[in-house]
Symmetry: C2
Subunit: 625 residues, 2 copies
Amino acid sequence: MSREVPFDNDVPAPAQRDSAYRRKIYLRGTREDVHVPFVEVLPVGKGEPSGPGGADAGPIGLDGCEPVPLVRLYDTTGPGSDPARGLPPLRLRWIKERGDTAEHEGRSPGPLDEGRGAARTRRVRTGSAMSGHGADIAGAGPPEVGRAPRRSTPEARSVTQLHYARQGIITPEMDFVATRESVDAELVRQEVAAGRAIMPSNVNHPELEPMIIGRRFLVKVNANIGTSSVTSSAAGEVEKLSWALRWGADTVMDLSTGPGIHTTREWILRNSPAPVGTVPIYQALEKAGGRPEDLTWEIYRDTLIEQAEQGVDYFTVHAGVLLRYVPMTMNRVTGIVSRGGSIMAAWCLAHHEENFLYAHFDEMCEIMTAYDIAFSLGDGLRPGSVADANDEAQLAELATLGELAEVAWSKDVQVMIEGPGHVPMDKIAQNVELERELCHDAPFYTLGPLTTDVAPGYDHITSAIGAAMIAMHGTSMLCYVTPKEHLGLPDLQDVKEGMIAYKIAAHAADLAKQHPRAREWDDALSRARFEFRWEDQFNLSLDPSTARGFHDETLPAGPAKTAHFCSMCGPKFCSMQISQRVRDFAAEHGLSPTQSLQVGLSEKASEFRSSGAEIYTVQNVPADA
Amino acid sequence: MSREVPFDNDVPAPAQRDSAYRRKIYLRGTREDVHVPFVEVLPVGKGEPSGPGGADAGPIGLDGCEPVPLVRLYDTTGPGSDPARGLPPLRLRWIKERGDTAEHEGRSPGPLDEGRGAARTRRVRTGSAMSGHGADIAGAGPPEVGRAPRRSTPEARSVTQLHYARQGIITPEMDFVATRESVDAELVRQEVAAGRAIMPSNVNHPELEPMIIGRRFLVKVNANIGTSSVTSSAAGEVEKLSWALRWGADTVMDLSTGPGIHTTREWILRNSPAPVGTVPIYQALEKAGGRPEDLTWEIYRDTLIEQAEQGVDYFTVHAGVLLRYVPMTMNRVTGIVSRGGSIMAAWCLAHHEENFLYAHFDEMCEIMTAYDIAFSLGDGLRPGSVADANDEAQLAELATLGELAEVAWSKDVQVMIEGPGHVPMDKIAQNVELERELCHDAPFYTLGPLTTDVAPGYDHITSAIGAAMIAMHGTSMLCYVTPKEHLGLPDLQDVKEGMIAYKIAAHAADLAKQHPRAREWDDALSRARFEFRWEDQFNLSLDPSTARGFHDETLPAGPAKTAHFCSMCGPKFCSMQISQRVRDFAAEHGLSPTQSLQVGLSEKASEFRSSGAEIYTVQNVPADA
């Protein structure tokens, strides 16, 4: 029933196809043209599927039992489209309506934009190097959208969601987010205005379905994708994008360093309903011939404009790697492990000048406020091993990021702060406390952290532990880590494994933070489990096909899906059944939790004995059971 | 190089074969005949393997670099043997030496011991139902050891490690544990004497390599194995045992409910160097025809003796499910999910009498103290969903377990306390705090807990998060959860996935608790990573073959193992390399972390520029890089 093929143009997004009882719906915001996606899970009940009940009718009765509520889950899969055409520009009307931006000629892309080796770039463009998965977009360039780049008009000082929020305006984007998060739009506006939440939303990324990153909202997950010089293709990265979204990615970062950087990014942006982040220094370094010492503010600035016009929603900027902090990394076990951090450290030492990203920070803000690109202030000195966690270098940089956040806010630019990395569990809470204090409650966005260094191949697990904990303490977005971390570039299976581990971490944190809607999902699944509604349990699962497949391995027969037992205990010996009998008995005899069984009940005991002498026996049992 | 075949009789245990640089060694305790196993990882360095250096020589110099220390890891794989012969009885001399136990005729096993369906029992005994994996033990009964069951002599009141510890005796078992944990034997004795740690070690399980469960020691992991009525065979369970040990299981629980219970357990015990735990009520229920209401103390007592004589090291006993607590589960989302708990609840209601395990607890202690079997006081009312966590039923039972722990201690019986289950992260710390308070610091042994209910198929991850956290707060042993939890019985791959996730959780907790030796492992691996000693990084990994395999997927060439880059960034752009250049430069110029770069260093900058103009280039690069 379910499929895991990354994408397929003839049919709706995979989330819609899992089951007739798990389907995509849209709810309207306050505005007519705000349509917010959800996945709705309808109860199948104990029998075989026979068509969904009334979707909007609320609780649905099953076999005369207590009504089972439907559950609506946050959906990130996007509207679905032909990747070669790109997604519909749903925000375009809202952006135009505001009248504070205009199209202009923009910067002229050149061959250098694709990175070193323009020859290779052609190969990506024409698709001859593409993998089998990407056949549908091979042979063509990225989607042509027929739009010139847009930026703020000369009159408009800023076109950011922060700017509007501070003016008391609830934008359609905020309306969308409020519906998506099931909160009041005014809460969204207030949190954005205060800098405690951000909504990355470049005016050149109208395909975006707005989302919010902030402590008061659901914890979000970012998926990193991108080519390197050793491996990957543009088509492969678009596949990874759709695949990551299918498993719940809230934003994606394109970390490409390989050939075809500009084109790969164009493909990704035109097909991403989620905000796209980048680390512009990677492309700038390519333009500088790969030599950190040859980087200049002019090259970097040109790269910012290039990416701003394409529609990148947030930039990781390593402006906190100051010259005087570099020697603090000398005695570390793993030195500087951030690519951006090491590039800037090398630049600082080579020139004996202050980091040019720090020196030109004001100018950078002026650019970003004109497109509404958010800062993700990079932690270039983050620890790369548990030994280096919470050290002087890391914390010195964090204080500088706090200083820069205030500069960004003064220009109406949205800001979040990046965090580690590798941190043992006992030092996780301190990371959040210091970030909140030093960075004035700007949203925190952490990579993991990994809680031990000893399990390469399983760093989605070492870091899901840290991610869940740091999110519980207040981190707003988690950058996923795949099983390939430290070992290689993730393939589609790795992307899925990383996403699942991080959706678990994020949801576990939502529960721990007692998010008002988080428990609904768990309770619905647990009730289905207790009542042996197997199909409902599968449909409510984070990964329905895996849950169904695991069940089928030991009990593949169709009737086992409706059986009142599972393969762990077998049909003769089931705690859930015994427990149900206990419950039924107690209920029938009007027992309440506060009422003692000690008084006047011994005669009931024999009644229980006789009624329960035969444990419920299921007919459809495998022959050898 | 590495193999994942579960077992193979002609060669040593798999851990020894991973590499010439990862090998099993034994360290001597205080006594001559105490030999404690470790896995020693010797540095390969940056070149190809050419034979190990001097193992006992301490740090080993590589290519003129700083010496790299060897690392010794805790080893659970056991001495290795032919499963049909069983393991050598290494403790037998120690047990006999004490002169407080004697062999006796013991109980006569009968056909009912195998569970219902004696015909099926024969099938298991003769091996005709065994899987292909177990061909070596097919056709034969379990190992014949030629020993009669042993118990305390009439003169000896108790033969438990707790009894000896209270008398100030350091047993060979304590000596073994002290060497294994790298601590003083007196600390071991004190913690056991105080009831804060246990060393499950039945006198009828001389094959045991002693281990300890307590907050001051390394966090341990239990693996559940066992047949059910729907699936599994004795041979398959012995395979799972060895496989679980290979991945680091510290104890195993045989939860068999299927046919051949007695014989399956005999196979497991004779082949387990780790303590074996059981839930005797499962077998007792079989003897009672599967009807909870027909259970009696006499049937249960007979089962305890049977298992005691076989050598089971700890019993899960659900003596805290009191009659008056049962109605407290009525309004739960998932009622009673513990099998033992639901059986006892059904029995209590059927008879309207107090739980017979509670009523006969003193007598049970007299049996267990005569063999040195530890209590694992079961949490029959543990929550089965996050909705039910830390509720009245759970906590009422916990208080009763604390009361029972004191009774056990009064009879010199070792005790640990079982804990949940399903608990959202914000309620995890409270579980440990209450256990310590109500159960007087008896070691806590928890199942997970799962931190969310929504990810069936991935409950090794939902629960590794909770397990790591609860262990950080003071849980001494974690019961693993496999990906098949709630869906089916684990196969070998599931056992491995569960074990790896839990070894990560346990080690992350050891780090967070600042266990004196925990960091050595992480630091050794991180240094290897930073210095591009790929082979050392693999050998130090929790799962070397997976780490090596993932690396090889993108860079399979032999030379890539010695390359100073990886596939994530490629050879032209590597943060580790840039970072090393920064470090080398700073070191050469006598910079220290406290010294500002601002003064008198600008002339050095040009030097750095010229030295670093060419980033280190590796020759052995894949052709298309």
